[in-house]
Symmetry: C2
């Protein structure tokens, strides 16, 4: 007789296509749960554009404290053109990432042979970006003076600490150590952003001493974008700051089968708060509610969630189901639910 273990999930479907893709991710989670002796108790949080329009709230602290009590968070997508740019991003998404100390923003990229890449010869692409999640230009330490006048000045401050850089760099090295190719590339712009860039570079050089098996490389962010289109197979683990990570992971998604497949984990490796899993794509309001969105990225994010909870086999079952589904894609359009159903069926296998 086996025991069933229960995990609590906070679910934030969010805006646009968020609810649709989240439905499919939960469907697939449920499909694998039984076989792997687990259940997921879900609490849905109504956060995003609709809530903000109705109440002016983005993420009240009391609700954040409730969310914090869960084992993990599954998020669909956040943002809508009807809300001023930045309100939901800063007040909801980034508030979650920062308050719950999601310092490892994990974004794997893989080219599935059957999925078309916009690149003519992508090669064998299988890398992971470890994007710092709690510092850099994302900290919100900017300001503006004399707004709307010809004398306006607006600043944005990138904050980088030895504490914050070292912990994410260590995480990246540990991931590189666990992978067969054992390569780590630091991406920054230390020839211009010399203070932050040198902190990153020195930290990587220092931690590298503890990982003699890892081959370490450095690229300026501009050069990294070149290699991402001319030779993406060269990458194994990339570690980079919050903003550069944002930029290169969208590019990485684009070259490897598109943003419809790109999953991510906002991870708190110290487990002092729940980690959060979400597709890299946005809320795509133009196709919302039409069952046109590809839920694969949300489903793969659920797989990363299982992995984080230690349910490695269940995570693998989803990944394998997705791989099998992708391999049989013919270009015939399926609805969001049809894709979810197909993957759930395979995953329940």
């Amino acid at each position: 007789m086996s025991e069933t273990k229960n995990f609590t999930l906070a679910v934030v479907p969010g805006d646009g296509i968020g609810p649709e893709v989240t439905t499919e991710a939960l469907k697939v989670l449920d499909a694998v749960a039984a076989q792997h002796g687990v259940t997921f108790e879900r609490t849905e949080y109504d956060l995003g554009a609709k809530r903000w329009h109705a109440t002016g709230e983005t993420l009240p602290d009391a609700e954040l404290e409730e969310i914090r009590k869960h084992d993990a968070i599954l998020l669909g997508a956040v943002g809508d053109p009807s809300v001023p740019s930045g309100v939901l991003e800063r007040g909801l998404l980034l508030k979650l990432r920062f308050t719950l100390d999601h310092y490892v923003n994990l974004r794997p990229s893989k080219i599935y042979p059957s999925v078309g890449s916009p690149l003519a010869n992508p090669g064998e692409v299988d890398f992971v970006v470890v994007r710092e999640g709690t510092e850099g230009p994302y900290v919100g330490n900017g300001g503006a003076l004399r707004v709307g006048t010809p004398a306006e000045i607006a600043t944005e401050v990138s904050v980088n600490t030895a504490y914050g850089v070292e912990r994410v760099v260590r995480d990246a090295f540990a991931r590189a150590q666990a992978r067969p190719r054992k390569k780590l590339t630091l991406v920054h712009k230390n020839n211009v952003l010399v203070y932050a860039g040198h902190l990153w570079k020195r930290t990587v050089d220092k931690v590298a001493e503890e990982f003699p098996e890892i081959a370490v490389d450095y690229l300026h962010v501009d050069a990294a974008t070149i290699f991402l289109v001319t030779d993406p197979a060269r990458f194994d683990v990339i570690v980079t700051d919050n903003l550069f990570g944002d930029i290169i992971t969208d590019l990485a998604a684009a070259i490897s089968g598109g943003i419809g497949l790109a999953a991510s984990g906002n991870i708190n490796p110290d487990r002092t708060a729940p980690s959060m899993f979400e597709p890299v794509h946005g809320s795509a309001p133009d196709i919302a509610g039409q069952q046109k969105a590809d839920p694969t990225a949300a489903i793969l994010s659920a797989s990363l969630l299982l992995e984080h909870l230690g349910l490695t086999e269940a995570a693998r079952a989803i990944e394998d189901a997705v791989t099998a589904d992708i391999e049989e894609r013919t270009g015939v359009a399926r609805s969001t639910a049809e894709i979810g159903d197909a993957i759930a069926k395979r995953a329940a296998g």
Copy 2:
């Protein structure tokens, strides 16, 4: 009887492949000069890694003042691994751009039908990036505390002013107005960098009122990298900040025939100081001195220089010569000088 007009050029060959590609650019300039009734009087400035190693100097103020007296500047490439990262970039290249108020960093991207793109279906790519050149995270207003200790903190400040943003936005609109497609895309990250991002957005919206024929679009920088590989033909004029411009122009070069073809102008549109023209590529020390570098980007930069001096026909002659040369490229390797000779011959044609 036609009169010969003389222009003075400050030439900074720089490091690595810089001197080789500059030689070819000057060769081509000379080849077109006679036909177009101009001469170029050149003064070479020995700046870069060798000078720094010998004297510790990057760009002494007295030399900068001499350079300032010229009609234009031609630069090869700057930077060498033997010099700590940032020393030559900040002390030489950025010092020139900032002091001479090169607020328009102009970077055209074009796919030549005969040149292989890493993209399977690039489409008809012909856009120009107007990158702000004197503000943003490039200002050097960063700092660090307790360097080398676990309590280190390093900051980088992005400075953006209404003055600085409006002048570059106006320049971009004027360029869009002069192009057949009349499209302008602002690239920023105003959902996270809300202070700087909103200044940029408001400025574009305001200036747009004076250019009713221009179709205006906004993209977050991460989304822009996606479109640059999935649909680069959608772009006409892109206006963006210094750092985002750095990143997307390397990507733009990569998708359109490579960094060997990407030219740039650091332009002072008010002509209060000479503008500077340089290839987008770096000094590539690994292939320096071997006649392996493609001088085309440097030659196209010389064409931008002629254009800026009002020598439109001469500029066109170089552009046409380059296009003809590129169209006949067979993949057989030619030396740097051979490519320069071939283009010079055609341009003189």
